[in-house]
């Protein structure tokens, strides 16, 4: 017969067992969480609720988070800030940016000049790794990776954003409840 050496309980252990101290400790813990969930509304400190009501309440993402790209516009004239310099496309390690420029005739101080302006901007978010090197390269702070993270679409083509989408933002269903 294998010898099982069960140590004899000490007096203290016996008293603890009699008054069911461990059971009461467990009950106290769950009660603490229950009371904390009802009273502590901001939840993070103490024993509050950790659940985020996602579609209803937007979560706070980290400041360093990079999400959906955006082409910023001049807030007064609503012209694009992009000067079609192509630096972002050159900086992109994934080669997912296409800057398509065109020349237009302008007159500067009475003389006819040609200027390169932005025609179309293609940004393939399916290949983007959100390193934000394009944002670093942009001399006019036009291209920016925002904190928006809802990028899912129903087709592969939907991942390719054109200039309009980049300037206006993509339409997503806003759930309020």
């Amino acid at each position: 017969m294998p010898a099982v050496n069960v140590p004899k309980p000490t007096l203290m252990e016996k008293v603890k067992r009699f008054f069911m101290v461990d059971l009461l400790k467990g009950l106290r813990l769950t009660l603490k969480y229950n009371v904390g969930a009802i009273t502590d509304k901001d939840a993070v400190a103490g024993h509050g609720i950790y659940t985020e009501q996602y579609p209803k309440v937007r979560p706070d993402v980290a400041p360093r988070f990079h999400g959906a790209p955006r082409l910023n516009m001049d807030p007064e004239t609503h012209d694009t800030l992009c000067i079609a310099c192509n630096l972002c496309a050159l900086a992109c390690p994934e080669d997912c940016i296409d800057v398509i420029a065109m020349d237009i005739e302008i007159t500067v101080a009475g003389k006819a000049r040609r200027k390169k302006v932005l025609d179309e901007f293609i940004f393939d978010t399916s290949r983007c790794m959100f390193c934000a090197l394009c944002q670093e390269a942009c001399p006019t702070a036009c291209l920016e990776l925002t904190q928006d993270f809802e990028l899912a679409t129903y087709s592969r083509a939907g991942f390719v954003w054109n200039r309009e989408m980049l300037e206006q933002g993509r339409e997503t269903v806003k759930y309020t409840k």
Binding site: V4, L31, N34, I38
Partner: protein, 442 residues
């Protein structure tokens, strides 16, 4: 207006209205009971529905979650959404199942749970449907019918999980029914009646809840009640990790929800009986003095109903609280607790209570302390008598603990069967425990 045993004094304006359409006897014996039954069934069903909601919410809170939040404000309409979903769900019957038994079992289960509410006193006067003079016996016998439903469901499903679950739950319920029945007797010695209303009024006339006289009885009753309802930590019949869902593995849709409903209704039943027996039922100090004594009869009944519901809800919270705190017992531990601990506790409690009552009566007989004023149907204890009884109750816990630890001192020994085979019962040294011989190589 007729005063009957079924109905004491219903609210007058409804009574007058009914008397225009029916004769007095019909009103008293048919119409009013139907109104009460309808009200109670509806109330209990809604209460059971919201018990599921409360369970989900409380379990979520205890795990730092939110629980149901989408249907209605704070998810308050979730039970109705669940009910609607279950009603419209397909009702599957497994191949080779015993169809009629399979389909009939949920109804037995839910009926056994709901019939009991006929005798439970929710309040004084019209707060009780019927006051049967063997109410407690009725409750115990009807709630054992619930076991039949589980066995039928498990057996007729033609599934090994269901059968195993049914066997487990029947074994469990049968063994815990013994300790449940025995634990009640202590309180009955004080109440001296099996009528549930009578038990409440006994506590009212003593102005002491029986939980103070009978702390052990309450403890035993609650533990065996939880085990009787197959609730965690005694939920072996539906242990998810072993048996999928136990006896209702093969059930779906409405029939499954009937079992679910029956489980929660049975919890409410046990809580209600515990409330009535040990927590004073609808009785609460000073309520009578400030309402009924000043002529506000309806207010008295309604406040008593609220008191009863509050106590019931507290006990239900205890159920949820224990479920989400304690892990499940092993099967041998379950039987261990039932047969080796709870039944002896209940028996010792009966003996101690009898001794206590005898002592108090004897003291009274010697004309020493004035404790019992008269041997009326309830024990009319004086203040001293009450103090002695409460003292006996508290001391009883320690005595019982001593007795039980003596009985079970060898219960945890390793491999008891083997030891019994090997222990030599001759040449034992006096005062020393019997020792098994050194192990042979087998």
């Amino acid at each position: 207006m007729l005063h009957t045993f079924a109905l004491f004094a219903p609210p007058n304006f409804i009574d007058n209205l009914l008397l225009k359409f029916f004769s007095a006897d019909t009103v008293n014996y048919v119409v009013w009971p139907f109104i009460q039954i309808g009200a109670v069934v509806t109330a209990v069903a809604v209460y059971a529905l919201y018990a599921t909601y409360a369970e989900r919410k409380i379990s979520a809170f205890m795990q730092a979650r939110l629980g149901p939040m989408r249907v209605g404000p704070w998810g308050l309409l979730q039970p109705f959404a669940d009910a609607l979903k279950l009603l419209t769900k397909e009702d599957l019957t497994p191949d080779k199942a015993d169809i009629y038994t399979f389909k009939f079992a949920p109804y037995i289960s839910v009926a056994a749970a709901f019939i009991v509410f006929a005798v439970i006193p929710f309040g004084p006067d019209w707060g009780v449907i019927t006051d049967v003079n063997i109410g407690l016996l009725f409750v115990l016998s009807i709630s054992s019918v619930g076991v039949l439903a589980l066995i039928l469901a498990g057996w007729s499903s033609n599934s090994k999980y269901a059968l195993m679950g049914a066997l487990r739950s029947s074994a469990q319920m049968v063994s815990y029914e013994v300790s449940m029945g025995l634990s009640i007797i202590g309180a009955l010695m004080f109440a001296r009646t099996l009528s549930l209303s009578g038990i409440v009024s006994a506590q009212q006339s003593d102005a002491v809840w029986f939980m103070f006289y009978q702390p052990l009885g309450l403890l035993t009753f609650l533990v065996s009640g939880i085990a009787e309802n197959n609730r965690a930590p005694f939920d072996l019949p539906e242990a998810e990790s072993e048996l999928v869902a136990g006896f209702h593995t093969e059930y779906s849709g409405m029939r499954w929800s009937l079992f679910f409903m029956a489980e929660y209704a049975a919890m409410v039943v046990v809580s209600a009986i515990a409330t009535t027996l040990y927590l004073g039922g609808w009785y609460f100090p000073f309520v009578y003095r400030f309402t009924e004594a000043q002529g506000h009869h309806a207010l008295y009944v309604i406040i008593s109903l609220i008191v009863f519901l509050a106590k019931l809800t507290f006990l239900l919270y205890l159920y949820f609280w224990l479920r989400w705190t304690l892990p499940r017992f092993r099967y041998d531990q379950l039987m261990d607790i039932g047969w080796k601990w709870l039944i002896p506790t209940a028996l010792v409690n009966i003996v101690l209570t009898a001794i206590a009552i005898f002592t108090v009566q004897a003291v009274d007989g010697w004309n020493g302390l004035k404790t019992i004023e008269a041997m009326s149907p309830s024990l009319n204890l004086t203040g001293t008598g009450k103090a002695i009884m409460i003292g006996f109750g508290i001391i009883g816990i320690f005595i019982t603990a001593g007795v039980l630890s003596t009985i079970n001192r060898r219960a945890r020994d390793f491999n008891l069967k083997r030891q019994r085979r090997n222990i030599r019962l001759v040449n034992l040294r006096k005062g020393k425990p019997a020792v098994a011989p050194p192990a042979t190589n087998e």
